[in-house]
């Protein structure tokens, strides 16, 4: 059999490939050019000279960056906050899905789903506006409510002791319903014969969950975990940016907000690009590593 050359295959499918060309051009301009733009981290950028024309300066910006206490603080905050998210926000939708799956009344289940998905569709600007009113120490409804029980008031958004907790809880509140969808779908796909077999063997509800339900949804949990790991250094920029203030920088300033203030407010383009590069390289490595581990343990990765 004669193998057709690559050129011939492109020629044969030229109309199909033609459809792809605008997309490829878009990816080159809007994705790969900015990736090339990361070289700014090794240059002294000026708008007049552009990305290509600016002079190379080696690791100057990185050396300066690592000496900045603000950068080290943002790095640690990002890691700590994301670790909390991993600890609480990651398992929460799984538990929620498991509990919701046990609800027998379809109508009740539907109502709970509809209500819990809702916050996902609102922007952090709207939610921040809402939480600022809700959590205010003097006029906020939550502090009023706690006051009835003689607790508080707490300055949830202005006190460094509570700010990280507030971030984690509000994020959990926004995402728990929506993130449970994939798990609910996985749960509904489990073969009911497995449960019947477990019942016959005398398993109770709890044993059923441990031995049938959890193993059945572990592939999807793995995939979600890989995505979550990739975000360990990506931060909830939208959330933090809209909720934080100077009083809580020490616990709440993350790499994204640090980059924004340094880059777009103080116009230190090269220095803040260096932050992006560090973040991206670490995040990307994390995804690769997690994927490899997941494949070894579970035989199931995202590629």
């Amino acid at each position: 059999m004669k193998r057709t050359s690559l050129m011939q295959r492109y020629w044969k499918n030229k109309y199909l490939f033609l459809l792809l060309i605008p997309g490829i051009m878009w990816y080159v301009v809007f994705k790969y050019l900015p990736i090339y733009g990361l070289t700014l981290a090794f240059k002294d950028f000026s708008f007049r000279k552009g990305i290509f024309g600016s002079a190379w300066v080696g690791f100057k910006h990185f050396k300066y960056l690592f000496s900045l206490s603000g950068f080290r603080r943002a790095f640690l905050n990002t890691l700590i906050i994301n670790f909390y998210q991993l600890l609480f926000s990651f398992p929460a939708p799984i538990i929620f899905a498991l509990l919701l799956n046990e609800i027998v009344h379809i109508g009740y289940k539907k109502v709970v789903q509809t209500i819990s998905y809702l916050p996902h569709f609102l922007s952090w600007v709207i939610l921040a506006g809402m939480f600022m009113q809700l959590l205010s120490p003097s006029t906020g409804a939550l502090n009023h409510l706690l006051g009835v029980f003689g607790i508080g008031p707490f300055y949830f958004l202005g006190d460094p002791r509570y700010f990280r907790g507030t971030l984690v809880v509000t994020n959990l509140w926004k995402s728990i319903g929506w993130n449970s969808i994939v798990y609910l779908a996985a749960l509904s796909n489990i073969d009911t014969q497995l449960f019947e077999a477990a019942r016959l063997d005398g398993a109770n509800k709890f044993q059923e969950i441990i031995h049938v339900t959890l193993p059945s949804i572990s592939p999807i949990v793995t995939v979600m975990l890989i995505f979550q790991m990739g975000r360990l250094f990506g931060d909830n920029f939208d959330q933090v940016f809209n909720l934080y203030n100077a009083a809580v920088y020490e616990v709440g300033d993350v790499l994204g907000t640090f980059t924004y203030r340094m880059g777009l407010r103080d116009m230190q383009y090269s220095l803040s690009t260096a932050v992006s590069l560090v973040t991206n390289v670490i995040s990307f490595s994390l995804v690769i590593i997690t994927n490899a581990i997941a494949k070894r343990i579970n035989d199931y990765g995202i590629w």
């Binding site: 295959r9 492109y10 499918n13 109309y15 199909l16 490939f17 792809l20 605008p22 997309g23 490829i24 990816y27 994705k31 900015p34 990736i35 090339y36 733009g37 990361l38 700014l40 708008f47 552009g50 990305i51 027998v104 109502v111 709970v112 509809t114 209500i115 819990s116 998905y117 809702l118 916050p119 569709f121 609102l122 922007s123 600007v125 709207i126 506006g129 809402m130 009113q133 809700l134 003097s138 006029t139 009023h144 509140w173 728990i176 969808i181 994939v182 109770n204 509800k205 990739g230 809209n242 980059t259 880059g263 777009l264 690009t273 992006s276 973040t279 991206n280 995040s283 995202i302 590629w303």
Partner: protein, 294 residues
């Protein structure tokens, strides 16, 4: 088969129902308290807890609707949402279709190059410099072109296309139809559910986007609703609330800035709240085909 429940399981079920109800309450409570405040007249002290304000007024809403900045914001947001979503859909479909075909030359290579950008990107500064270099700064297109394609959504469409049996198009090919014709006459009509999902996701992300408008647009007449909302609610800009010169005006009328903020948030949220329950099933649909496999 009737399920017999042990006492333990009955207790578990009861607790479960209560937990779910509490969770829903916690979701509704913030919205409710905001709604209640938006109707409170200035005489209601904001330091008191109430289920519904003892004295209500529509003046807060009258102020919000009289504010031309809000209308400017709505106009710009609707423009970017409609135009941006339409162009995104066209782009996504035309990229997804070739990638769904096994006979596309170098298919794996092209797919990998595209998926790579999901995990590695240039970040805030290079993207900002790119937009400025393309002379898009202060243009409404700066809010549309950089997010024309969303790789995740595109892959979802591709996966759906791949699930359509090849036999359908093979018969069309024998009749002499080309790729474009097959895409428009066969593939797209069969993919309505997934297209609806992606359209809704894209529309919501356009409606909610604020950061691009914050950094790419300085012209006040081109700001989107979310950015105006941000300045009013989070930064407490009295000027944008159109309350300036108005400390005096506020005393004589029946409004307080806190109640106006609440009313502003409610007004900006209502379009989504109203549309969401009807469209919920389409929103959810896409999550279930969103795998990178295949």
């Amino acid at each position: 088969m009737a399920v017999r429940r042990s006492t333990g399981e009955t207790i578990f079920l009861a607790v479960n129902y209560v937990v779910m109800a509490l969770l829903c309450l916690s979701m509704i409570f913030p919205f409710w308290s905001l709604l209640a405040r938006s109707f409170a007249s200035a005489s209601v002290p904001s330091t008191k807890l109430y289920f519904w304000p003892p004295e209500t007024t529509f003046d807060n809403y009258a102020r919000v609707f009289a504010n031309k900045n809000i209308w400017i914001g709505f106009g710009n947001t609707i423009f970017r949402t409609v135009v941006g979503t339409f162009l995104s859909l066209i782009m996504s479909i035309h990229v997804a279709y070739p990638l769904s075909k096994k006979y596309l030359p170098n298919r794996t290579l092209w797919t990998s190059l595209i998926v790579f950008t999901m995990f590695f990107s240039g970040g805030m500064i290079p993207e900002y410099i790119l937009v400025r270099s393309l002379k898009l700064y202060n243009s409404r297109w700066a809010l549309i072109f950089p997010i024309l394609l969303n790789t995740f959504n595109m892959i979802i469409i591709r996966n759906y296309f791949m699930s359509i049996p090849d036999s359908l198009e093979e018969s069309a090919k024998i009749d002499g139809a080309n790729d474009l014709l097959i895409l428009y006459r066969i593939i797209i009509p069969l993919s309505f559910p997934i297209i609806a999902t992606v359209v809704l996701w894209t529309a919501v992300s356009h409606w909610n986007a604020w950061f691009d408008s914050l950094i790419y647009i300085s012209d006040g007449s081109k700001q989107v609703l979310q950015t105006i909302l941000r300045r009013i609610v989070l930064e407490g800009s009295l000027q944008l609330m159109e309350l300036q010169g108005g400390a005096l005006g506020m005393e004589t009328s029946n409004v307080s800035s806190e109640a106006i903020k609440a009313a502003t948030v409610i007004v900006a949220t209502t379009p989504i709240l109203v549309a969401y329950p009807f469209l919920q099933k389409y929103f959810v649909k896409g999550v279930l085909v969103g795998s990178l496999k295949g």
